[in-house]
Protein backbone atom coordinates (compact mmCIF):
# COMPACT_ATOMS: atom_id res chain seq x y z
CA UNK A 1 0.00 0.00 0.00
CA UNK A 2 1.24 3.43 -0.86
CA UNK A 3 -0.58 6.43 0.48
CA UNK A 4 0.00 10.07 -0.35
CA UNK A 5 -2.28 12.69 1.13
CA UNK A 6 -2.02 16.44 1.43
CA UNK A 7 -5.24 17.64 2.97
CA UNK A 8 -6.73 20.57 4.83
CA UNK A 9 -10.04 20.52 6.62
CA UNK A 10 -11.48 23.02 9.09
CA UNK A 11 -14.65 22.78 11.13
CA UNK A 12 -15.86 24.13 14.44
CA UNK A 13 -12.56 25.75 15.47
CA UNK A 14 -10.52 22.67 14.63
CA UNK A 15 -8.30 22.42 11.62
CA UNK A 16 -6.56 19.40 10.21
CA UNK A 17 -3.47 20.01 8.17
CA UNK A 18 -1.78 16.82 7.14
CA UNK A 19 0.89 15.99 4.63
CA UNK A 20 1.38 12.26 4.57
CA UNK A 21 3.49 9.87 2.57
CA UNK A 22 3.30 6.34 3.86
CA UNK A 23 3.92 2.87 2.59
CA UNK A 24 3.82 -0.62 4.05
CA UNK A 25 1.10 -3.06 4.95
CA UNK A 26 0.76 -2.35 8.68
CA UNK A 27 0.49 1.39 9.17
CA UNK A 28 -0.50 3.03 12.43
CA UNK A 29 -2.00 6.45 13.07
CA UNK A 30 -1.28 7.50 16.63
CA UNK A 31 -2.48 10.50 18.59
CA UNK A 32 -4.55 11.70 21.53
CA UNK A 33 -8.29 12.11 21.10
CA UNK A 34 -9.09 15.33 19.27
CA UNK A 35 -5.82 15.24 17.34
CA UNK A 36 -7.52 14.67 13.98
CA UNK A 37 -7.17 10.90 13.62
CA UNK A 38 -10.84 10.19 13.00
CA UNK A 39 -11.18 13.12 10.61
CA UNK A 40 -8.30 11.64 8.64
CA UNK A 41 -10.14 8.30 8.52
CA UNK A 42 -13.29 9.96 7.19
CA UNK A 43 -11.31 11.83 4.54
CA UNK A 44 -9.57 8.64 3.41
CA UNK A 45 -12.82 6.66 3.27
CA UNK A 46 -14.62 9.48 1.47
CA UNK A 47 -17.41 9.95 3.99
CA UNK A 48 -16.16 13.52 4.39
CA UNK A 49 -14.37 15.74 1.88
CA UNK A 50 -11.31 17.89 2.57
CA UNK A 51 -11.51 21.65 2.04
CA UNK A 52 -8.63 21.30 -0.35
CA UNK A 53 -5.73 19.02 -1.19
CA UNK A 54 -5.30 15.61 -2.75
CA UNK A 55 -5.36 11.94 -1.77
CA UNK A 56 -3.64 9.19 -3.75
CA UNK A 57 -3.76 5.49 -2.93
CA UNK A 58 -1.46 3.14 -4.86
CA UNK A 59 -1.08 5.77 -7.56
CA UNK A 60 -4.82 6.24 -8.03
CA UNK A 61 -6.25 9.67 -7.32
CA UNK A 62 -9.15 9.46 -4.87
CA UNK A 63 -9.48 13.16 -4.26
CA UNK A 64 -8.06 16.25 -5.82
CA UNK A 65 -9.48 19.72 -5.32
CA UNK A 66 -7.40 21.01 -8.22
CA UNK A 67 -8.56 18.41 -10.73
CA UNK A 68 -12.06 18.29 -9.24
CA UNK A 69 -11.87 14.57 -8.49
CA UNK A 70 -13.78 13.10 -5.58
CA UNK A 71 -14.30 9.34 -5.78
CA UNK A 72 -17.42 8.49 -3.72
CA UNK A 73 -16.99 6.10 -0.74
CA UNK A 74 -18.50 3.14 -2.62
CA UNK A 75 -15.91 3.53 -5.37
CA UNK A 76 -12.83 3.63 -3.14
CA UNK A 77 -12.79 0.06 -1.86
CA UNK A 78 -11.64 1.24 1.56
CA UNK A 79 -13.51 -0.53 4.36
CA UNK A 80 -13.76 0.67 7.96
CA UNK A 81 -13.94 -1.16 11.26
CA UNK A 82 -15.35 1.40 13.67
CA UNK A 83 -14.90 1.85 17.39
CA UNK A 84 -18.24 0.13 17.92
CA UNK A 85 -19.46 -2.69 15.68
CA UNK A 86 -22.34 -0.73 14.06
CA UNK A 87 -23.87 -3.89 12.59
CA UNK A 88 -27.06 -3.62 10.53
CA UNK A 89 -29.70 -4.51 13.15
CA UNK A 90 -32.25 -5.70 10.58
CA UNK A 91 -29.93 -8.30 9.05
CA UNK A 92 -28.67 -11.64 10.33
CA UNK A 93 -24.97 -12.31 10.92
CA UNK A 94 -24.81 -13.78 7.42
CA UNK A 95 -26.65 -10.79 5.95
CA UNK A 96 -24.21 -8.42 7.63
CA UNK A 97 -21.16 -10.38 6.52
CA UNK A 98 -22.35 -10.54 2.92
CA UNK A 99 -23.46 -6.90 2.64
CA UNK A 100 -20.17 -5.73 1.19
CA UNK A 101 -19.41 -9.02 -0.56
CA UNK A 102 -22.53 -8.74 -2.72
CA UNK A 103 -21.57 -5.22 -3.74
CA UNK A 104 -18.01 -6.13 -4.65
CA UNK A 105 -17.20 -6.72 -8.32
CA UNK A 106 -16.90 -10.52 -8.90
CA UNK A 107 -13.34 -10.07 -10.18
CA UNK A 108 -12.24 -8.64 -6.83
CA UNK A 109 -13.78 -11.35 -4.67
CA UNK A 110 -10.76 -13.10 -3.20
CA UNK A 111 -12.05 -13.64 0.31
CA UNK A 112 -15.16 -15.78 0.69
CA UNK A 113 -17.55 -16.34 3.54
CA UNK A 114 -16.49 -19.92 4.27
CA UNK A 115 -12.80 -19.32 4.87
CA UNK A 116 -13.33 -16.06 6.73
CA UNK A 117 -16.01 -17.46 9.06
CA UNK A 118 -13.54 -20.19 9.95
CA UNK A 119 -10.77 -17.80 10.92
CA UNK A 120 -13.07 -15.50 12.90
CA UNK A 121 -14.91 -18.48 14.48
CA UNK A 122 -18.29 -17.31 13.27
CA UNK A 123 -19.56 -20.57 11.72
CA UNK A 124 -22.08 -21.26 14.46
CA UNK A 125 -23.48 -17.75 14.45
CA UNK A 126 -24.33 -17.22 10.79
CA UNK A 127 -28.11 -17.58 11.03
CA UNK A 128 -28.48 -15.62 14.26
CA UNK A 129 -29.64 -12.02 14.57
CA UNK A 130 -26.97 -9.54 15.56
CA UNK A 131 -28.72 -7.92 18.50
CA UNK A 132 -28.12 -10.71 20.99
CA UNK A 133 -24.47 -11.36 20.26
CA UNK A 134 -21.79 -10.66 22.86
CA UNK A 135 -19.49 -7.65 22.50
CA UNK A 136 -16.60 -9.72 21.18
CA UNK A 137 -18.81 -11.61 18.71
CA UNK A 138 -20.24 -8.35 17.39
CA UNK A 139 -16.79 -6.88 16.80
CA UNK A 140 -15.71 -10.08 15.05
CA UNK A 141 -18.73 -9.83 12.74
CA UNK A 142 -17.83 -6.19 12.06
CA UNK A 143 -14.28 -7.21 11.15
CA UNK A 144 -15.63 -9.98 8.91
CA UNK A 145 -18.09 -7.65 7.22
CA UNK A 146 -15.33 -5.19 6.36
CA UNK A 147 -12.96 -7.94 5.16
CA UNK A 148 -15.60 -9.61 2.97
CA UNK A 149 -16.11 -6.41 1.02
CA UNK A 150 -12.64 -7.35 -0.30
CA UNK A 151 -11.17 -3.90 0.25
CA UNK A 152 -7.77 -2.85 -0.98
CA UNK A 153 -7.25 -1.03 2.32
CA UNK A 154 -8.81 -1.59 5.73
CA UNK A 155 -9.15 1.33 8.12
CA UNK A 156 -9.46 0.38 11.76
CA UNK A 157 -10.65 3.40 13.71
CA UNK A 158 -9.89 2.56 17.33
CA UNK A 159 -11.56 -0.83 16.92
CA UNK A 160 -10.59 -1.95 20.43
CA UNK A 161 -11.23 1.10 22.57
CA UNK A 162 -14.86 0.20 23.32
CA UNK A 163 -13.89 -3.27 24.53
CA UNK A 164 -12.71 -4.17 28.01
CA UNK A 165 -9.08 -5.19 28.45
CA UNK A 166 -9.64 -8.91 28.36
CA UNK A 167 -11.75 -8.78 25.21
CA UNK A 168 -9.37 -6.33 23.59
CA UNK A 169 -6.46 -8.73 23.68
CA UNK A 170 -8.69 -11.56 22.50
CA UNK A 171 -9.66 -9.57 19.38
CA UNK A 172 -6.11 -8.49 18.44
CA UNK A 173 -5.03 -11.95 17.22
CA UNK A 174 -8.12 -12.07 14.96
CA UNK A 175 -7.32 -8.68 13.51
CA UNK A 176 -3.75 -9.69 12.83
CA UNK A 177 -4.55 -13.09 11.36
CA UNK A 178 -7.28 -12.01 8.95
CA UNK A 179 -5.20 -9.20 7.54
CA UNK A 180 -2.09 -11.38 7.23
CA UNK A 181 -3.98 -14.38 5.88
CA UNK A 182 -5.65 -12.45 3.08
CA UNK A 183 -2.87 -9.91 2.49
CA UNK A 184 -5.00 -6.83 3.09
CA UNK A 185 -2.97 -3.77 4.09
CA UNK A 186 -4.41 -1.81 6.97
CA UNK A 187 -4.25 1.49 8.78
CA UNK A 188 -4.70 1.03 12.50
CA UNK A 189 -5.82 4.12 14.39
CA UNK A 190 -5.40 4.30 18.15
CA UNK A 191 -4.32 6.42 21.08
CA UNK A 192 -2.92 3.40 22.87
CA UNK A 193 0.81 2.83 22.55
CA UNK A 194 0.54 -0.84 23.40
CA UNK A 195 -2.10 -1.46 20.71
CA UNK A 196 0.23 0.26 18.25
CA UNK A 197 3.11 -1.97 19.30
CA UNK A 198 0.95 -5.03 18.80
CA UNK A 199 -0.62 -4.04 15.48
CA UNK A 200 1.57 -1.69 13.44
CA UNK A 201 5.11 -1.50 12.03
CA UNK A 202 5.33 2.17 11.12
CA UNK A 203 3.39 5.05 12.57
CA UNK A 204 2.17 8.51 11.67
CA UNK A 205 1.57 10.51 14.80
CA UNK A 206 -1.02 13.27 14.90
CA UNK A 207 -0.90 16.22 17.21
CA UNK A 208 -3.36 19.14 17.22
CA UNK A 209 -4.50 18.44 13.69
CA UNK A 210 -1.09 18.16 12.11
CA UNK A 211 0.90 15.11 11.30
CA UNK A 212 4.60 14.54 11.76
CA UNK A 213 6.74 12.32 9.57
CA UNK A 214 6.44 8.56 9.59
CA UNK A 215 8.48 6.72 12.22
CA UNK A 216 8.79 3.13 13.31
CA UNK A 217 6.63 2.01 16.23
CA UNK A 218 9.79 1.27 18.19
CA UNK A 219 11.07 4.85 17.79
CA UNK A 220 7.73 6.27 18.80
CA UNK A 221 7.55 4.05 21.87
CA UNK A 222 11.04 5.06 22.94
CA UNK A 223 10.39 8.74 22.38
CA UNK A 224 7.15 8.70 24.35
CA UNK A 225 8.76 6.82 27.26
CA UNK A 226 9.91 10.10 28.80
CA UNK A 227 6.38 11.56 28.88
CA UNK A 228 4.48 8.38 29.61
CA UNK A 229 3.09 7.45 33.02
CA UNK A 230 3.68 3.78 32.38
CA UNK A 231 7.11 3.89 30.78
CA UNK A 232 8.13 1.80 27.82
CA UNK A 233 6.11 -1.38 27.50
CA UNK A 234 8.20 -4.48 26.78
CA UNK A 235 6.26 -7.26 25.09
CA UNK A 236 7.49 -10.74 25.94
CA UNK A 237 6.34 -13.65 23.83
CA UNK A 238 6.50 -16.96 25.65
CA UNK A 239 5.53 -20.53 24.92
CA UNK A 240 3.87 -23.05 27.23
CA UNK A 241 5.04 -22.89 30.88
CA UNK A 242 7.71 -25.46 31.76
CA UNK A 243 6.18 -26.02 35.16
CA UNK A 244 3.84 -24.32 37.48
CA UNK A 245 3.77 -24.28 41.26
CA UNK A 246 2.29 -20.97 42.31
CA UNK A 247 4.59 -19.30 39.80
CA UNK A 248 4.59 -20.13 36.10
CA UNK A 249 8.04 -20.82 34.74
CA UNK A 250 8.69 -20.05 31.09
CA UNK A 251 11.70 -20.59 28.87
CA UNK A 252 12.94 -17.20 27.77
CA UNK A 253 16.27 -15.75 26.61
CA UNK A 254 18.21 -18.95 27.23
CA UNK A 255 17.09 -19.03 30.84
CA UNK A 256 13.93 -19.17 32.87
CA UNK A 257 11.38 -16.50 33.61
CA UNK A 258 9.23 -16.67 36.74
CA UNK A 259 5.86 -15.06 36.30
CA UNK A 260 3.06 -14.89 38.78
CA UNK A 261 0.05 -15.59 36.61
CA UNK A 262 -3.20 -17.44 36.79
CA UNK A 263 -2.95 -21.17 36.37
CA UNK A 264 -4.88 -21.28 33.08
CA UNK A 265 -2.56 -18.79 31.40
CA UNK A 266 -0.78 -21.05 28.98
CA UNK A 267 1.15 -19.15 26.36
CA UNK A 268 1.06 -15.76 24.75
CA UNK A 269 2.28 -12.24 25.34
CA UNK A 270 3.13 -10.59 28.64
CA UNK A 271 3.71 -6.90 29.10
CA UNK A 272 6.44 -5.53 31.34
CA UNK A 273 7.00 -1.83 31.98
CA UNK A 274 10.51 -0.43 31.73
CA UNK A 275 9.85 1.05 35.19
CA UNK A 276 9.60 -2.38 36.78
CA UNK A 277 13.16 -3.40 35.95
CA UNK A 278 15.83 -2.68 38.57
CA UNK A 279 19.45 -2.76 37.41
CA UNK A 280 22.46 -3.94 39.45
CA UNK A 281 26.07 -3.55 38.56
CA UNK A 282 27.11 -6.64 40.52
CA UNK A 283 25.22 -9.78 41.43
CA UNK A 284 23.15 -9.04 44.52
CA UNK A 285 23.47 -11.89 47.01
CA UNK A 286 19.88 -12.17 48.10
CA UNK A 287 16.87 -10.48 46.60
CA UNK A 288 13.12 -10.89 46.82
CA UNK A 289 12.55 -10.42 43.12
CA UNK A 290 12.19 -13.83 41.49
CA UNK A 291 13.94 -12.94 38.27
CA UNK A 292 17.57 -11.93 38.13
CA UNK A 293 18.73 -11.81 34.54
CA UNK A 294 22.34 -11.40 33.46
CA UNK A 295 22.36 -9.08 30.48
CA UNK A 296 24.51 -6.86 28.32
CA UNK A 297 23.80 -3.22 27.42
CA UNK A 298 23.32 -3.04 23.69
CA UNK A 299 22.42 0.64 23.51
CA UNK A 300 21.12 3.67 25.37
CA UNK A 301 18.83 6.52 24.45
CA UNK A 302 17.69 9.70 26.17
CA UNK A 303 13.99 10.27 26.79
CA UNK A 304 13.17 13.37 28.79
CA UNK A 305 15.12 13.35 32.05
CA UNK A 306 15.48 9.59 31.89
CA UNK A 307 17.75 7.23 30.07
CA UNK A 308 16.40 4.22 28.26
CA UNK A 309 18.68 1.21 28.33
CA UNK A 310 18.44 -1.51 25.74
CA UNK A 311 19.42 -4.83 27.26
CA UNK A 312 20.35 -8.03 25.51
CA UNK A 313 19.27 -10.98 27.66
CA UNK A 314 20.44 -14.13 25.92
CA UNK A 315 19.23 -12.96 22.53
CA UNK A 316 16.02 -11.38 23.79
CA UNK A 317 15.65 -7.62 24.12
CA UNK A 318 14.40 -5.62 27.09
CA UNK A 319 14.16 -1.87 27.60
CA UNK A 320 14.76 -0.58 31.12
CA UNK A 321 14.69 3.01 32.28
CA UNK A 322 16.71 4.84 34.93
CA UNK A 323 17.17 8.51 35.82
CA UNK A 324 20.30 10.20 34.49
CA UNK A 325 22.18 10.19 37.81
CA UNK A 326 21.69 6.45 38.13
CA UNK A 327 22.93 5.92 34.59
CA UNK A 328 26.20 7.76 35.24
CA UNK A 329 26.68 6.18 38.68
CA UNK A 330 26.33 2.69 37.23
CA UNK A 331 28.63 3.71 34.36
CA UNK A 332 26.19 2.36 31.87
CA UNK A 333 27.60 2.20 28.36
CA UNK A 334 27.31 -0.12 25.44
CA UNK A 335 28.77 -3.53 26.14
CA UNK A 336 28.59 -3.22 29.95
CA UNK A 337 27.30 -6.22 31.83
CA UNK A 338 24.41 -5.76 34.29
CA UNK A 339 21.91 -7.72 36.31
CA UNK A 340 18.23 -6.95 35.84
CA UNK A 341 15.86 -7.78 38.67
CA UNK A 342 12.17 -8.18 37.91
CA UNK A 343 9.44 -9.15 40.35
CA UNK A 344 7.30 -12.09 39.30
CA UNK A 345 4.21 -9.92 39.77
CA UNK A 346 5.42 -7.17 37.42
CA UNK A 347 4.18 -9.03 34.33
CA UNK A 348 0.70 -8.68 32.90
CA UNK A 349 -0.78 -11.24 30.57
CA UNK A 350 -2.17 -9.77 27.34
CA UNK A 351 -3.11 -12.42 24.86
Amino acid sequence: MELRATVMKSFGGFSLNADITASGTRLGIFGASGSGKSTMVNLLAGTESPDCGSIHLDGECLYSSRMKINVPPQGRRIAIVFQRPHLFPHLSVRGNLLYGFKRCAPGNRKIDLGSLAGILKLEGLLERGVNNLSGGEKQRVAIGRAMLSNPRLLLMDEPLSALDDELKFQIIPYLRTVCEEFGIPFVFISHSMIEMQLMADSVLSFENGSCTAMTSVEDLARRSMGKSQVGYINLLRVGKPLRSNGLNVYAWGGGELFISAQRDVAEGIFELSSRNIILFKKHPEAISARNLLRCRVSGTFAAGNKVGIELDCGGERLIAEVVREAASELEIREGAELFAAIKATAFRHLA
Binding site: A45, P73, Q74, I80, F82, H86, P89, Y99, G100, R103
Partner: protein, 226 residues
Protein backbone atom coordinates in the same frame (compact mmCIF):
# COMPACT_ATOMS: atom_id res chain seq x y z
CA UNK B 1 -79.54 1.01 14.43
CA UNK B 2 -79.30 0.13 10.81
CA UNK B 3 -77.17 1.42 8.00
CA UNK B 4 -78.89 2.59 4.83
CA UNK B 5 -77.32 1.96 1.39
CA UNK B 6 -76.28 5.64 1.38
CA UNK B 7 -74.49 5.12 4.70
CA UNK B 8 -72.75 2.07 3.31
CA UNK B 9 -71.63 4.11 0.30
CA UNK B 10 -70.26 6.78 2.63
CA UNK B 11 -68.30 4.19 4.65
CA UNK B 12 -66.93 2.54 1.51
CA UNK B 13 -66.02 5.91 0.03
CA UNK B 14 -64.28 7.02 3.23
CA UNK B 15 -62.18 3.87 3.25
CA UNK B 16 -61.37 4.23 -0.44
CA UNK B 17 -60.35 7.88 -0.04
CA UNK B 18 -58.22 7.18 3.05
CA UNK B 19 -56.46 4.16 1.52
CA UNK B 20 -55.77 6.00 -1.74
CA UNK B 21 -54.51 9.12 0.02
CA UNK B 22 -52.22 7.13 2.31
CA UNK B 23 -50.79 4.81 -0.33
CA UNK B 24 -50.24 7.62 -2.84
CA UNK B 25 -48.49 9.77 -0.20
CA UNK B 26 -46.16 7.05 1.10
CA UNK B 27 -43.37 7.28 -1.50
CA UNK B 28 -43.44 11.08 -1.49
CA UNK B 29 -43.61 11.22 2.29
CA UNK B 30 -40.67 8.83 2.57
CA UNK B 31 -38.56 10.86 0.15
CA UNK B 32 -39.50 14.17 1.77
CA UNK B 33 -38.52 12.75 5.17
CA UNK B 34 -35.25 11.46 3.70
CA UNK B 35 -34.28 14.81 2.24
CA UNK B 36 -35.30 16.67 5.38
CA UNK B 37 -33.31 14.28 7.58
CA UNK B 38 -30.18 13.57 5.55
CA UNK B 39 -30.16 16.18 2.81
CA UNK B 40 -27.79 19.12 2.82
CA UNK B 41 -29.13 21.66 0.38
CA UNK B 42 -30.21 25.26 0.10
CA UNK B 43 -33.84 25.91 0.85
CA UNK B 44 -34.17 22.98 3.23
CA UNK B 45 -36.03 25.13 5.75
CA UNK B 46 -38.38 26.28 2.99
CA UNK B 47 -39.17 22.66 2.13
CA UNK B 48 -39.66 21.94 5.83
CA UNK B 49 -42.10 24.83 6.16
CA UNK B 50 -43.99 23.81 3.00
CA UNK B 51 -44.38 20.24 4.23
CA UNK B 52 -45.62 21.34 7.64
CA UNK B 53 -47.84 24.19 6.50
CA UNK B 54 -51.02 22.10 6.14
CA UNK B 55 -50.69 21.21 9.82
CA UNK B 56 -51.31 24.80 10.87
CA UNK B 57 -53.52 26.07 8.07
CA UNK B 58 -57.29 25.71 8.52
CA UNK B 59 -58.42 22.75 6.34
CA UNK B 60 -61.01 25.03 4.72
CA UNK B 61 -58.19 27.27 3.47
CA UNK B 62 -56.40 24.24 2.03
CA UNK B 63 -59.61 23.11 0.39
CA UNK B 64 -60.20 26.53 -1.10
CA UNK B 65 -56.62 26.79 -2.43
CA UNK B 66 -56.95 23.30 -3.93
CA UNK B 67 -60.23 24.34 -5.53
CA UNK B 68 -58.51 27.34 -7.10
CA UNK B 69 -55.61 25.16 -8.26
CA UNK B 70 -57.65 22.22 -9.56
CA UNK B 71 -60.70 24.11 -10.80
CA UNK B 72 -61.37 24.62 -14.50
CA UNK B 73 -59.45 27.88 -14.52
CA UNK B 74 -56.72 26.84 -12.11
CA UNK B 75 -53.09 26.10 -13.08
CA UNK B 76 -53.46 22.36 -12.94
CA UNK B 77 -57.21 22.20 -13.58
CA UNK B 78 -56.96 24.04 -16.89
CA UNK B 79 -54.21 21.71 -18.09
CA UNK B 80 -56.24 18.63 -17.12
CA UNK B 81 -59.33 20.16 -18.71
CA UNK B 82 -57.55 20.19 -22.07
CA UNK B 83 -57.15 16.38 -21.94
CA UNK B 84 -60.74 16.01 -20.74
CA UNK B 85 -60.04 15.22 -17.09
CA UNK B 86 -62.05 16.86 -14.34
CA UNK B 87 -60.90 16.53 -10.76
CA UNK B 88 -63.03 18.83 -8.63
CA UNK B 89 -66.19 17.31 -7.17
CA UNK B 90 -64.96 13.73 -7.68
CA UNK B 91 -63.80 11.28 -5.01
CA UNK B 92 -60.25 11.72 -6.31
CA UNK B 93 -60.44 15.37 -5.26
CA UNK B 94 -61.37 14.10 -1.78
CA UNK B 95 -58.32 11.85 -1.81
CA UNK B 96 -56.07 14.74 -2.84
CA UNK B 97 -57.50 16.92 -0.06
CA UNK B 98 -56.92 14.14 2.47
CA UNK B 99 -53.39 13.57 1.18
CA UNK B 100 -52.43 17.22 1.53
CA UNK B 101 -53.88 17.52 5.03
CA UNK B 102 -52.38 14.24 6.26
CA UNK B 103 -48.97 14.57 4.57
CA UNK B 104 -47.18 16.46 7.40
CA UNK B 105 -48.27 13.80 9.90
CA UNK B 106 -46.78 11.09 7.72
CA UNK B 107 -43.52 12.97 7.12
CA UNK B 108 -43.10 13.80 10.81
CA UNK B 109 -43.45 10.19 11.90
CA UNK B 110 -41.10 8.87 9.23
CA UNK B 111 -38.59 11.57 10.11
CA UNK B 112 -38.59 10.62 13.77
CA UNK B 113 -37.82 7.06 12.68
CA UNK B 114 -35.02 8.19 10.36
CA UNK B 115 -33.44 10.52 12.88
CA UNK B 116 -32.95 7.60 15.23
CA UNK B 117 -30.84 5.73 12.65
CA UNK B 118 -27.17 5.64 13.63
CA UNK B 119 -25.25 7.68 11.07
CA UNK B 120 -22.36 5.25 11.28
CA UNK B 121 -24.62 2.54 9.78
CA UNK B 122 -25.06 4.72 6.72
CA UNK B 123 -21.31 5.39 6.56
CA UNK B 124 -20.65 1.66 6.92
CA UNK B 125 -22.99 0.80 4.07
CA UNK B 126 -21.39 3.44 1.83
CA UNK B 127 -17.85 2.22 2.50
CA UNK B 128 -19.01 -1.36 1.89
CA UNK B 129 -19.84 -0.41 -1.67
CA UNK B 130 -23.44 0.85 -1.61
CA UNK B 131 -24.32 4.05 -3.47
CA UNK B 132 -26.84 6.44 -1.95
CA UNK B 133 -30.01 4.91 -3.36
CA UNK B 134 -28.78 1.42 -2.49
CA UNK B 135 -28.24 2.63 1.10
CA UNK B 136 -31.68 4.26 1.02
CA UNK B 137 -33.39 0.99 0.07
CA UNK B 138 -31.31 -1.51 2.06
CA UNK B 139 -30.52 0.39 5.26
CA UNK B 140 -32.66 3.49 5.70
CA UNK B 141 -35.96 2.03 4.47
CA UNK B 142 -35.90 -1.13 6.62
CA UNK B 143 -34.75 0.80 9.67
CA UNK B 144 -37.52 3.39 9.35
CA UNK B 145 -40.34 0.84 8.92
CA UNK B 146 -41.73 1.60 12.36
CA UNK B 147 -41.90 5.30 11.58
CA UNK B 148 -43.55 4.50 8.27
CA UNK B 149 -46.15 2.27 9.93
CA UNK B 150 -46.88 4.86 12.61
CA UNK B 151 -47.10 7.65 10.05
CA UNK B 152 -49.38 5.67 7.76
CA UNK B 153 -51.76 4.81 10.59
CA UNK B 154 -51.87 8.43 11.68
CA UNK B 155 -52.45 9.62 8.15
CA UNK B 156 -55.11 7.00 7.48
CA UNK B 157 -56.99 7.98 10.61
CA UNK B 158 -56.68 11.66 9.75
CA UNK B 159 -58.01 10.96 6.23
CA UNK B 160 -61.02 9.09 7.60
CA UNK B 161 -61.99 12.21 9.50
CA UNK B 162 -61.15 14.80 6.86
CA UNK B 163 -63.98 17.31 6.52
CA UNK B 164 -63.09 20.92 5.79
CA UNK B 165 -60.81 20.54 2.79
CA UNK B 166 -62.90 17.72 1.33
CA UNK B 167 -66.19 19.61 1.36
CA UNK B 168 -64.53 22.57 -0.39
CA UNK B 169 -62.90 20.67 -3.22
CA UNK B 170 -65.08 17.54 -3.55
CA UNK B 171 -68.45 18.78 -2.40
CA UNK B 172 -71.00 16.67 -0.56
CA UNK B 173 -72.66 14.52 -3.21
CA UNK B 174 -74.24 11.33 -1.75
CA UNK B 175 -72.80 8.21 -3.37
CA UNK B 176 -70.12 10.20 -5.20
CA UNK B 177 -68.11 12.33 -2.78
CA UNK B 178 -70.02 12.02 0.47
CA UNK B 179 -67.62 10.49 3.00
CA UNK B 180 -68.62 9.58 6.55
CA UNK B 181 -67.93 12.94 8.19
CA UNK B 182 -69.89 14.69 5.45
CA UNK B 183 -72.80 12.27 5.85
CA UNK B 184 -72.79 12.80 9.63
CA UNK B 185 -72.80 16.54 9.08
CA UNK B 186 -75.76 16.25 6.74
CA UNK B 187 -77.73 13.98 9.11
CA UNK B 188 -77.04 16.22 12.07
CA UNK B 189 -78.19 19.33 10.29
CA UNK B 190 -81.45 17.83 9.04
CA UNK B 191 -84.44 17.33 11.43
CA UNK B 192 -84.85 13.77 12.75
CA UNK B 193 -81.42 12.66 11.61
CA UNK B 194 -79.89 12.31 15.08
CA UNK B 195 -80.19 8.54 15.19
CA UNK B 196 -78.62 8.03 11.78
CA UNK B 197 -75.86 10.48 12.69
CA UNK B 198 -75.15 8.56 15.91
CA UNK B 199 -75.03 5.26 14.02
CA UNK B 200 -72.37 6.61 11.68
CA UNK B 201 -70.50 8.12 14.64
CA UNK B 202 -70.37 4.64 16.16
CA UNK B 203 -68.96 3.25 12.90
CA UNK B 204 -66.33 6.02 12.90
CA UNK B 205 -65.33 5.17 16.48
CA UNK B 206 -65.08 1.46 15.64
CA UNK B 207 -62.97 2.15 12.55
CA UNK B 208 -60.61 4.42 14.48
CA UNK B 209 -60.23 1.81 17.20
CA UNK B 210 -59.51 -0.84 14.56
CA UNK B 211 -56.78 1.33 13.04
CA UNK B 212 -55.18 1.94 16.44
CA UNK B 213 -55.28 -1.75 17.39
CA UNK B 214 -53.79 -2.75 14.05
CA UNK B 215 -51.08 -0.14 14.47
CA UNK B 216 -50.22 -1.40 17.96
CA UNK B 217 -50.16 -5.00 16.71
CA UNK B 218 -47.83 -4.18 13.83
CA UNK B 219 -45.61 -2.02 16.04
CA UNK B 220 -45.34 -4.83 18.60
CA UNK B 221 -44.50 -7.33 15.90
CA UNK B 222 -41.75 -5.11 14.51
CA UNK B 223 -40.35 -4.46 17.99
CA UNK B 224 -40.11 -8.21 18.64
CA UNK B 225 -38.20 -8.69 15.42
CA UNK B 226 -35.37 -6.40 16.60
Amino acid sequence: MTLTPVDMDAIRLSAKVAVTATLASLPFGFLAAYFLTFGRFRGKSVLDAMVNLPLTLPPVVIGYLLLLLLGKKGWIGSLLDQVGVRIVFTWQAGAIASAVVGFPLLVRSVRIGMESIDEKLIQASRTLGANWHDTLLTVILPLSVRGIVAGSALMFARSLGEFGATIMVAGNIPGVTQTMPLAIYEYASSPGGERAALTLCLVAILLSCAVLVFHEYLGGKLARRD
